[in-house]
Symmetry: C2
């Protein structure tokens, strides 16, 4: 763990001007062989075809087997060294690259925010002045890249780890929860921001919502969908909104702060347990499901859309980083066969989250194995793969049978939120009855009593053709 | 298979007036013991508490262990006979019940439509005149319940099977495809409607889109989200829209016809491969993802929203009901362990559809097992669990590594559409290279070249608070 002390005005060393910046063997050897430096414009001949682009610097946490280039499309790609037959330089970038670094100003009248780095897009790609993708993380680097941050607060940064979002897991969740507890108990801070890759940001938001309860200050997860070298990047805007929320908002919850509409207009603050990534590439990908978001947020203000838990200095945070990783999600499909469940039983799983069809159904071929699972002490819970709406297992025979078996209906908990909660619950008890009680006792909006009408993405509103036709039709 | 001959004006026998209609032992014995008949209003004392409601008739395909009552809430529930300690009659319904049955008129100038029954809500719950839930399926019964159908076409019905939606599987898909081929080749019909439970309607729509290509006539799946005894039922409206589409529309595709907006205004026709059930209980649950629906539909007209394949008598239908059921969906979650993949390999699976995070990612702990799977000849394909958007595995190292392993990126195919297609493809070849080519060759919109902006459910449009605030803010 690499810590930057608070207050955050320690000058960081300038980034290396090394012409092979970040490359190690075998990639480094290949660059040397063809006399190629980072920022050279090249043609790479490979066994899989010709690649053209700009050689990018790499960070030390990345693998050593790929030469990474920025293609004319704006996307980056990695070329495996073993596939390379020749590299030809077709142009050289003038000058060398470093992140413009300025001392982050400290103002004792300003709020104090700590940014925890986990890896992922926002930390590794924040620079938006140079057309390149490199890590920017120290307060000085962030200030150089996004000077607006200094108007909002004093910033400290702590790099907890450098893993991609898809590699986040139990180990990281526990470290995060413990560090957040330490910060709240020992440091004089007004809010915490967690830089996170977007792939599993909602999973982390969910698990932290169970592990960290009764927080006195805002805890805000943030990332970006487009790297900061692209004109449409959401990195700077999301970070500014998140830091503003942490420093100045009254909302003491675990939140995800990401891009709102398709325009650059505002950001949204989502409850950690009710948010989900809904589009693989759009910036407006994070949506609150079956509820409205907590608030809309701009760089200098926020507007709540519903009730929330308030910031209060005298709140005593409760941190419980329990976790059992022997839990799985079973996403139902027609013709699912019992062997998938039998294998989970045999492999020692302790919890199964079913994402069933409709109101919470699976085919009858699974009944026997599900009964065996429950009889063996495995906690089996039901969610819906429709994502929106509630489990209702009393309506059809199939649901009633599963209820009789002991399958636990998780109301309108999202499958991901139920998965993270079951990991947390089974980290504390292996007793099925107790696990059931804990699963169904709401902690942080993972179950809501009702779904507002506008919690479902209304089709008509998003389809101009439909609206246009209807307006003509009504005349 | 139970066939009703065409033309469809054969009188069906009236439904039984049996006071224990549809009940078999042990349920029948319990009713007799307490002198209870269907339609009696009762209080049932059980080991799990007291239930109050109206005893409903049952169909022969349902289980014999439950007494089913309609509760004051409008929902039905089944009470297991072993839990019953006493039943007390608190009221008796006047008269007995039968579906009002009228001879379906035949008019040789009208179009001919065949309704195929598979079970599920629309067939078992269609009556909306009596406040009860019973099967209505013969042309005479349907005419008695929904007289508007006779204005649209001549109707034939064929009950293929009576299984709940969640029990639909390979056996039923093959029977359906073969019966559709026979109808198109041998009968003089203008369109086919398939009554289907809603849980897996999109899976059936998807698999039929691959099995049945180049159809000369419309093939329309239809169901209902609310049983027809509830005031808000969508059963009659959906059926009328579907029958109209089959009889009169120019659209020769495999479609799902379901409720459109939250009001009763119009229905929507969705492509079988791009539609998904998105809400567990709303009537407006079926949505086209990453594209616009084919058309809006009313009981007497339709308005196309995009290009479609046209009805043409001289088209020669191609039917290929191939299927391999050794395929699974792996829905990624943080901390997923390789044992889930190892078990699939050991259990003889031939295809794995991953629903990855972000642009198509899984954690690096799975790499070794995924490599083993591909090396063993298993076809592994990638889709995104965001549901909206494309797989892009070239952007990050993790994706590139999976591509190098041989994991096939399925563009913007929905996980369910990819699952059904892989079952169909592996029913024809076990060669990985050939399987890859077939997976990536678009048959029926399962991959689209681009996603229209209004193919993503735009948040702002569905949130009146947001719009209201923005309109104030802009002033």
């Amino acid at each position: 763990m690499e810590l930057t002390s608070h207050p955050p005005h320690v000058k960081q060393p300038a980034m290396s001007e090394d012409i092979h910046q970040g490359y190690r063997d075998p990639g480094l050897a290949v660059l040397k062989k063809y006399d190629i430096a980072v920022w050279d414009r090249v043609e790479i001949e490979t066994t899989k075809g010709l690649f053209t682009g700009l050689i990018l610097p790499r960070s030390k946490t990345e693998d050593a087997e790929h030469i990474v280039i920025k293609m004319p499309s704006g996307y980056n790609t990695g070329v495996h060294v073993e596939s390379i037959t020749k590299i030809k330089r077709i142009g050289r970038r003038e000058g060398h690259y470093s992140i413009p670094e300025k001392e982050f100003p400290y103002d004792k009248r300003k709020k104090n925010v700590t940014l925890l780095g986990t890896g992922g897009t926002i930390a590794s790609r924040l620079d938006y002045t140079t057309g390149a993708v490199v890590p920017a993380f120290s307060p000085g680097e962030l200030y150089g890249a996004v000077p607006e941050l200094a108007d909002i607060c004093n910033l400290t940064t702590t790099k907890l780890f450098g893993v991609f979002s898809e590699n986040m897991g139990p180990e990281q969740y526990v470290v995060l929860a413990k560090e957040i507890e330490r910060l709240i108990r020992e440091e004089d801070i007004d809010g915490i921001v967690i830089g996170h890759g977007t792939d599993t940001m909602h999973h982390t938001g969910s698990v932290l919502s169970y592990m960290i309860q009764n927080t006195p200050i805002p805890i805000v997860l943030v990332g970006s969908q487009r790297s900061s070298d692209r004109p449409s990047s959401d990195a700077a805007r999301n970070l500014i909104n998140a830091v503003y929320t942490a420093a100045h908002s009254d909302i003491a919850e675990i939140m995800v702060c990401m891009f709102g509409p398709t325009s650059d207009d505002y950001g949204l603050l989502h409850v950690g347990t009710r948010v989900r990534k809904m589009h693989s590439s759009y910036r407006s990908t994070f949506r609150t499901l079956s509820d409205v978001p907590i608030a809309m947020v701009w760089p200098d203000r926020y507007v709540p859309l519903r009730e929330y838990k308030k910031r209060r200095k005298d709140k005593d945070v409760i941190v419980n980083p329990a976790y059992d990783d022997r839990v799985t999600i079973l996403y139902y499909y027609p013709g699912m066969k019992p062997d998938v469940i039998d294998s989970l039983i045999d492999n020692g799983y302790r919890g199964i989250v079913i994402a069933g069809t409709g109101l919470g159904h699976v085919n009858s071929a699974l009944n026997k194995s599900l009964k065996r699972a429950v009889d063996k002490g495995i906690t089996v819970v039901m969610t819906v793969q429709t994502l929106w709406g509630y489990v209702h297992m009393n309506v059809y025979d199939v649901g009633r049978y599963l209820l009789e078996l002991g399958v636990i209906p998780c109301e309108n908990m999202l499958p991901e939120a139920a998965y993270m909660k079951l990991c947390w619950v089974l980290g504390q008890t292996q007793d099925q009855k107790e696990a059931k009680e804990m699963m169904l006792k709401t902690i942080a909006h993972e179950i809501t009593e009702r779904e507002p009408h506008n919690g479902y993405l209304v089709y008509q509103g998003g389809i101009p053709e439909v609206e246009k036709f209807l307006s003509t039709y009504k005349k």
